[in-house]
Amino acid sequence: MTEAPLLDVQDLTVSFAGAQSTVTAVDHVSFRIAPGETLGLVGESGSGKSVTAFSILRLLQPPGRITGGRVMFEGRDLLTLPERDMRQVRGARISLIFQEPMTALNPVMRVGDQIAEALTVHGMATRADARRRAIELLQAVKIADPVRRVRDYPHQLSGGMRQRVMIAIALACRPPLVIADEPTTALDVTIQAQVLDLMRELKERFNLALLLITHDFGVIAEMADRVAVMLKGRLVEEGPVRQILRDPRHDYTRSLLAAVPGRKARG
């Protein structure tokens, strides 16, 4: 990597304090993401990949607590930033796309208003202007008839369209970094293909860096430039996507890849 990293996570450590014992969910995890780059973070349930993402944005709920490390982003350590400044980072400089758009969207608010809110909250647009931008953003995520759709409520949209709205909200402030936590896991495979194609196109267009959290090596192969593999809170292997998929070094990565169906038939 010749370019200076956009995000530089150093020795991030997160613990969950229980009644009897403390569990280290993320254990000295370090990685970097360059501008415009996609890092795929893979692992199974409980590996700590989502906790890592939430910690970067300091959205961790108690009893989870960041106990060490630094998260350098645009020259500042996000872990020591006052909460007021952190609010200017979330959504505006780093935004988050969740797995389940139905729970992430506000069910009683029109989707256009939710996109507009993302803009006005960060002072990126006036109210009148935000409405126009909302329509543009729906157009950018390829929702047909955006002028009519801005007035829809989330329940009036299909799962794929809801995820497109989530992406529109995430992109509203043109952040340089997007964290996507299993963005297509809840979708049917044909819808997933459309959403992945869209994300790839938008990444190019806006030069987005992406931290893509997934358990699906197919999604990794389609999207990632580099891959980091997590196991029980630790990064066990990291490298360019082709190397990880074709010549994994760590036993865990090998066993994980061997378990992926569909390799038997195609050899």
Partner: protein
């Protein structure tokens, strides 16, 4: 004679749409016909709302079909009385997707596995206990854990408990409805291997309902693709994956992410006007059928 022979199966749901509107009829399963030979691993694939799970439930009469025939060893189970159906269910069992909601949290896992034997009044208490221990071993669980509760087990172990329960009555047909979909990939691989091993050891026949095409390609001998309540294509797994012939099958297969970052991405978009939804299945190759 096939073990299971489904003919013209139809399941309509009637949905009321409000006071002044006529009720809408949802054709969840719309004239579905297929047969499974003894010992086969038959895959039924499709996306949400395709009707694949409804088909599975109609076969067991967990849902009452609107019309059609379900022949099991040549007899139409849809004509069976309640008591006769109860007897028939010994031979036809189902494994559900969610290992968290399908096990009663207040029952010990040994009792959960024993329950089908109790309901069917099979064996003495000691014989049943011995059978449960044997089943635990069969699916790779510790017989020493019989007295534990479901919450003490991981997702993969719970799915093994569900499998042990399904096998308690020595069924001939097992319907696996997204049985491994909720599991992590490494656990999924282990449970799939268990299902394959059990098939060989117990000469089971599977109807394997799934949305994961890569998994179905790996383990099923034949596969049927459902779209909006109908089977649009059916055939030997290898032939169907090598030469998908229905526009929907082509679109579906092209959407599966390749595991090779350099594989050419050639998405085929489905154009619903490019095919006739009412077209019947016709044989386009040896044992390969498509509704085109």
């Amino acid at each position: 004679m096939p073990l299971l022979d489904v003919r013209g199966l139809v399941k309509h749901f009637v949905r009321t749409q409000g006071l002044f509107q006529p009720p809408a009829i949802v054709k969840a399963v719309d004239d579905v016909t297929f047969a499974i030979e003894e010992g086969e691993m038959f895959g039924l694939v499709g996306e949400s709302g395709s009707g694949k799970s409804t088909t599975g439930r109609c076969i067991l009469r967990l849902l009452e079909p609107t019309s059609g025939e379900v022949l099991f060893r040549g007899e139409n189970v849809l004509a069976f009385s309640r008591s006769r159906m109860r007897l028939a269910r010994r031979d036809m069992q189902i494994i559900f997707q969610d290992p968290y909601s399908s096990l009663n949290p207040r029952m010990r896992v040994g009792d959960i596995v024993e329950e089908p034997l109790v309901i069917h009044r099979l064996g003495s208490k000691d014989e049943r206990r011995a059978r449960v221990a044997e089943l635990f071993e069969l699916v790779g669980l510790e017989p020493g854990h019989l007295a534990r509760y479901p919450h003490e087990f991981s997702g993969g172990q719970r799915q093994r408990i569900g499998i042990a329960r399904a096998l308690a009555l020595n069924p001939a047909l097992v319907i696996a409805d997204e049985a491994v979909s909720a599991l992590d990939v490494s656990i999924q691989a282990q449970v799939v291997q268990l299902l394959v091993d059990l098939q060989r050891r117990l000469k089971l026949t599977y109807l394997f309902i799934a949305h994961d095409l890569r998994l179905v390609e790996d383990i099923c001998t034949r596969v049927a693709v459902m779209y909006l309540g109908r089977i649009v294509e059916m055939g030997d797994t290898r032939a169907l994956f090598a030469q998908p012939s229905h526009p929907y099958t082509r679109a579906l297969l092209s959407a599966v992410p390749a595991l090779d970052p350099d594989a050419p991405r050639q998405r085929i978009e489905l154009d619903p006007s490019s095919f006739n939804r009412e077209a019947p299945l016709r044989e386009i190759g040896s044992g390969h059928w498509a509704a085109i």
